[in-house]
């Protein structure tokens, strides 16, 4: 095979398999080989599952040969963030607590992916229980950014993003609680989407903050992200917060956006409160130039107000740990996962729980659990959790007003490009929290958001974020695909095509 199948997009792979140019087994093997060759350095995966992937591929190939009606993306491999519960495949959530946990059931997302015939390459690395934005907080070691292996891939879906960027997987499933799909997509030059809350089932997704978590697709193109989203979306009776409306045609939206003139008259709203001062110069420049391309293509750029924005971040850092403190209570060493006994003193259920949680959780997880415990406790609830829920209302009101003036809201996804390892400093717990200002409002309000490449700054990818009203995910795909085409045309090639692909030489230089 002369062609490197790992360089193709999911859409191209699907077409090629349908045309009989290669089989799913060829495609799956190519990606497994790529993982084998690169993952020692990149570290996208906590678990690689070649047997599972090849069995699915063989089954798809057999069914295709037999002329069966297959899902359009059948045979295209995918990676799963290690929060997706997979029966028979260990699911760790990046935590020592679940290091050896092999679940007895499947997440709905995994059920759908299996039903569509997508070979699962493995489970990707992440910040422990999705708490973090660098993937450094994994019990299984860091993941490196393929654009510069001395930098982080972002997080918490860092393994998912790097698996897509490093050609280890054409598609990757992540989760986004405050930007955990969009920010790593921005850092790795990929496309990541946080769907409308309830668009994709959360059943079988290891929870961090229930009212904020949402499963999202990552890929190297807007079309690939749309395809994966399409496949995962839909009502699930096992998730009470799952939307029951029909799933819009995201791929049609991508096609509509790719047509000439699709941006004509589209109103792109910039957010006054996310001012230029908050961004690195290179990030701002790349964002502005992509926005300028859109304006030249007929889009109207308007400015909108979001007075609640400064409070949104505060509200997020109360709601998220509060819900997490409760969701993570179940990790106590009684029914599954790690059990640790105290070295001294009596061995009782109480002491074993406390010792297990001390041993199994990392520092960031403990910090958030204690913060959430405090925010919910008697006497503080109204001031903290209660107030935060009111801020949520204000954020929704601001966004509703903003969407009166604009079809989508736009901003850089993150204030910087990917940061070196170790920048997140334990002595300054607020530092990295502040990096989430642009992404968090979408989670508080339940609206969809996308990050797609805007260009490069000092050789590193910059993310361009789009936000749309709830249930208008298709709008992201339409506008996103238009901007993607403009940025690609201006650069002469897709951004992702420029990512370094040989990491062996660099591995020695990183010490994280």
């Amino acid at each position: 095979m002369s062609q490197d199948l790992t360089r193709l997009t999911a859409a191209q792979l699907a077409d090629g398999m349908r045309a009989g140019e290669y089989t799913s087994t060829d495609v799956t093997r190519a990606h497994l080989d790529r993982i084998e060759a690169t993952d020692d350095v990149i570290g996208s995966f906590i678990s690689v599952t070649p047997d599972v992937a090849l069995a699915t591929a063989a089954d798809v190939d057999r069914r295709r040969a037999a002329g069966e009606d297959l899902h359009p993306f059948a045979g295209v491999p995918v990676s799963l963030k290690d929060v997706v519960v997979t029966a028979g495949i260990r699911t760790t959530a990046g935590s020592k607590m679940l290091e050896d946990w092999v679940p007895p059931y499947d997440a709905t997302v995994y059920t759908k992916i299996k039903a569509a015939g997508l070979p699962v390459l493995g489970k990707t690395n992440m910040d422990e229980f999705a708490m973090g934005s660098t993937t450094e907080h994994s019990a299984f070691g860091p993941t490196r950014n393929p654009w510069d292996t001395t930098t982080v891939p972002g997080g918490s879906s860092g393994g998912a993003a790097s698996s897509a960027a490093a050609f280890q997987a054409p598609l990757a499933v992540g989760t986004d609680t405050g930007g955990s799909v969009r920010q790593p997509a921005a850092f790795t030059g990929t496309v990541g989407v946080k769907p409308t809350y309830g668009s994709v089932s959360r059943y079988g997704i290891v929870a961090m903050a229930s009212s904020l978590d949402q499963v999202g697709p990552l890929g190297r193109t807007v079309a690939d992200a749309a395809a994966l989203h399409q496949l995962m979306a839909g009502h699930d009776q096992r998730d009470s917060t799952s939307l029951s409306d029909g799933v819009p045609d995201f791929l049609a939206a991508v096609e509509a956006g790719a047509r000439d003139g699709s941006l004509q008259g589209k109103r792109l709203g910039t957010i006054r409160e996310l001012s230029a001062d908050d961004y690195d110069e290179g990030v701002r420049a790349a964002f502005v130039s992509a926005l300028e391309l859109a304006r030249k293509a007929g889009a109207e750029v308007v400015e909108v107000d979001m007075p609640s924005l400064r409070y949104a971040l505060d509200a997020y850092y109360l709601i998220m740990p509060s819900e997490a403190s409760s969701n993570l209570a179940r990790y106590d060493g009684m029914r599954f996962g790690l059990r640790a006994e105290p070295e001294t003193g009596p061995v009782t259920a109480e002491t074993v729980m406390s010792t297990t949680r001390a041993a199994g959780f990392g520092a960031e997880v403990k910090r958030r659990i204690l913060l959430g415990t405090y925010a919910l406790s008697a006497g503080y609830y109204d001031a903290y959790y209660g107030s935060a829920q009111k801020v949520r209302t204000l954020v929704q009101r601001d966004l509703a007003a903003a969407f009166e003036k604009a079809d989508v809201l736009v901003s850089p996804t993150a204030p910087t490009t990917a940061l070196p390892f170790g920048v997140e400093n334990d002595d300054d717990p607020m530092a990295l929290y502040l990096g989430d200002a642009a992404t968090i409002p979408a989670n508080l309000a339940g609206i969809p958001g996308m990050s797609l490449p805007a260009g490069l700054a000092n050789g590193m990818p910059v993310g361009f974020q789009l936000l749309a009203p709830a249930r208008e995910d298709a709008r992201l795909y339409e506008v996103g695909s238009a901007i993607e085409a403009l940025v690609t045309d201006a650069a002469g090639a897709p951004l992702w095509a420029g990512v370094p692909t040989d990491y062996a030489a660099e591995s020695a230089t990183t010490s994280a």
């Binding site: 009212s211 009776q237 106590d332 029914r335 109480e350 406390s354 001390a358 405090y374 209660g386 607020m430």
Partner: protein, 101 residues
């Protein structure tokens, strides 16, 4: 609220008990510092959370998502116990329980 009394290591100790996390005194001290710093920022939410603003607990408002009372496929006992750190007689074995109900 931003100038609410600082959290002490003693309070963190109580929180750690509520959250069932064993912590050393160093960890308690450090966590107290971290929480104070975070709370100094996030306590601002109370400034705008006035009485006339309703709380939002769910981002997308839905009601009455109810399930029919029909038995599905439960886990087998073997599946249920598959991840148990210890089991006996088809039950989860846990250390002696001192606190009582």
């Amino acid at each position: 609220m931003a100038d609410a009394a600082a959290i002490t290591a003693g309070q963190v100790e109580h929180l750690a008990e509520l959250a069932r996390i064993a912590m050393t005194s160093e960890e308690l001290e450090k966590t107290a510092g971290d929480l104070n710093e975070i709370l100094a920022n996030v306590a601002r939410v109370a400034e705008v959370a006035t009485d006339d603003v309703p709380a939002t607990s769910h981002p997308i408002p839905l009601t009455n998502v109810l399930r029919d009372d029909v038995v599905g496929s439960p886990l087998t006992a073997e599946q249920a116990l598959s991840g148990a750190p210890a089991s006996e007689d088809g039950k989860f074995l846990v250390p002696q329980i001192l606190g009582e109900d």
